[in-house]
Amino acid sequence: MSRHLLTIAILAGLVLLLVAGVEALGIRVFNRIATNLCISLVLVLGLQIFMGNSGILSFAHIGFMGVGAYTSAVLTIPAQMKGMALPDLYGVLQGIQLSPYIAIIIGGLVAAAVAAVLSYPLMRLSDAAAVITSFALLVVLHTVMTNWSNVTNGPRTLFGVPRATDLPLAAAVAVLAVVAALAFKESRTGRLLRASRDDEVAAGALGVHISHLRWRAFVLAAFVAGIGGALWGHFITSFSPNAFYLRETFVILGMLVIGGANTVTGAVIGTFLVTGAFESLRAIEGALNSARIFREQVIGVTEVVLALAMIAILIFRPGGLFPTREIGALLARKFTKRKHAS
């Protein structure tokens, strides 16, 4: 038990340290980066809840981020702005204007409800078939978002979303997501799901109801993704369906895979490392361009480096940086081993 608390303390401590550091420095760019990092962390942890425990790669996750973002946006855009931002909005929704904090939670709940219906039949699939259908699900969600003009303003940018997300809120949600992901992992559902991840046949022969447990994890993951999307929407305040598609999917997947999908520690460390690398590369890119060292503009360094990092990880450390054990368990083992040795 104590090792779980140690893990929570270290991972939550990392987030709090980041917040304290950024607040102390008081530089606006850092504040934006740190807030984005915390939101990414929520999304990566949501994906870890499903992928890490079930062992099934899911591309659909970012689609549910979009569901949460649009839900929360529609519920919070001020009534007088709705005529402009969403001219075709259904009458029932026109008068609604909720507090963003309530709308963020509703965003998560709607994403979870959509996931609950859509994923129920899909969870019987394994391996490649499951991965392909999750990709199809992402495409379907994206198509709905780009075409359901009444609530999303179609492929155009939806603007007028009230700003409600600041660094402390994003960090608090990120810490809650860390606790939720760890609690789920150690719950009965999480443990049995991990058993099925390692060996589906053996888990089935023990009486594990695999498709049902996967479904639970998928719904919880969608809830967290919806919350993350809504948080992001209230941070960026205007977005289009393209924000919830392939680019974002691969960034979030990259963070999880590099850190190690099987552990919450991996999800957190991966998010920190990739965000750090991204932002420093972007800064280098900007510096190179403004110094005019090369004749042409330098673009795409971040994507190239992320791709190389992923390839390197998949070759040299396929399970990611933290493939099986959480940081708390690693430290506890080290400590007891040293005690045995002395």
Partner: protein
């Protein structure tokens, strides 16, 4: 109330036209140890797979008391009280030994705390306590087999079906395993079906033997009677030996 018996009635299994099992019947009662033996390819593993629902039946049925369990999914059959081990060990490799054993208890509805206690007791019985925190993948072959048996027992089964539990173990390990297995029917009231090629283990452990060859029963009965059965000797050693 004692558990009802497990009855396999006239079971047939086909793999694309090949009859792997052809009208085999077997009864396993609580508290007894039955050895399922036969030459390679005689259908022993298929028999366990058929009982636990891993392969579909082409005929016959499996009954638990008055209840038909053939046709149910492996999961439902497991919840009816049938636990098994696999010929090729199937551990949860990225989980610790303790988590491996706990998972079976959790799948059968134990609380987290009860599952932990049960798993720790079982690991103690199997001499695996020092390895509780090691990952499944890191164990030696013999240890893996023992973890798999401990895991099967954590489900509190009424019937335990073991597919070559002693394969890959050295003599001392086999001896220790024999000791544990021999005590199970009494201590837990379960019926034990065991496949193994180690005849000395089988002879010392089993009350009854059931011999398969080419998917059919060729002999069954008390261990020493079966051993003298000419059909069994022929199946194992060829017809020359039987005539000699």
């Amino acid at each position: 109330m004692p558990n009802p018996s497990l009855k396999v009635v006239d079971v047939a299994v086909e793999f694309s036209g090949l009859r792997a099992l052809n009208g085999v019947s077997l009864t396993l009662s609580p508290g007894e140890i039955v050895g399922l033996i036969g030459p390679n390819g005689s259908g022993k593993t298929t028999m366990i797979n058929a009982m636990t629902g891993q392969v579909p039946l082409a005929g016959g049925q499996v009954m638990l008391g008055d209840k038909q369990i053939s046709g149910l999914t492996p999961r439902k059959i497991a919840l009816e009280g049938l636990s098994r081990s696999f010929q090729i060990v199937r551990l949860f490799n990225n989980m610790t030994v303790l988590d491996n054993v706990e998972s079976a208890a959790l799948a059968h509805g134990c609380s987290l705390r009860v599952a932990r206690e049960k798993a720790q007791t079982l690991l103690g019985e199997f001499g695996l306590s020092p390895r509780a925190d090691d990952l499944g993948a890191s164990l030696s072959y013999g240890d893996k087999r023992r973890v798999e048996i401990a895991r099967a027992l954590a489900a509190d089964p009424a019937f335990l079906l073991l597919d070559e539990p002693a394969a890959g173990m050295n003599e001392a390990e086999t001896e220790a395993l024999l000791h544990i297995l021999a005590g199970l029917p009494k201590s837990r009231g379960l019926g034990l079906l065991i496949i193994d090629h180690d005849m000395s283990l089988i002879m010392r452990l089993c009350d009854r033997l059931h011999v398969l060859a080419f998917g059919k029963t060729i002999a069954e009965g008390k261990a020493d009677e079966v051993r003298r059965n000419p059909a069994v000797i022929e199946a194992y050693l060829g017809s020359e030996a039987a005539r000699a």
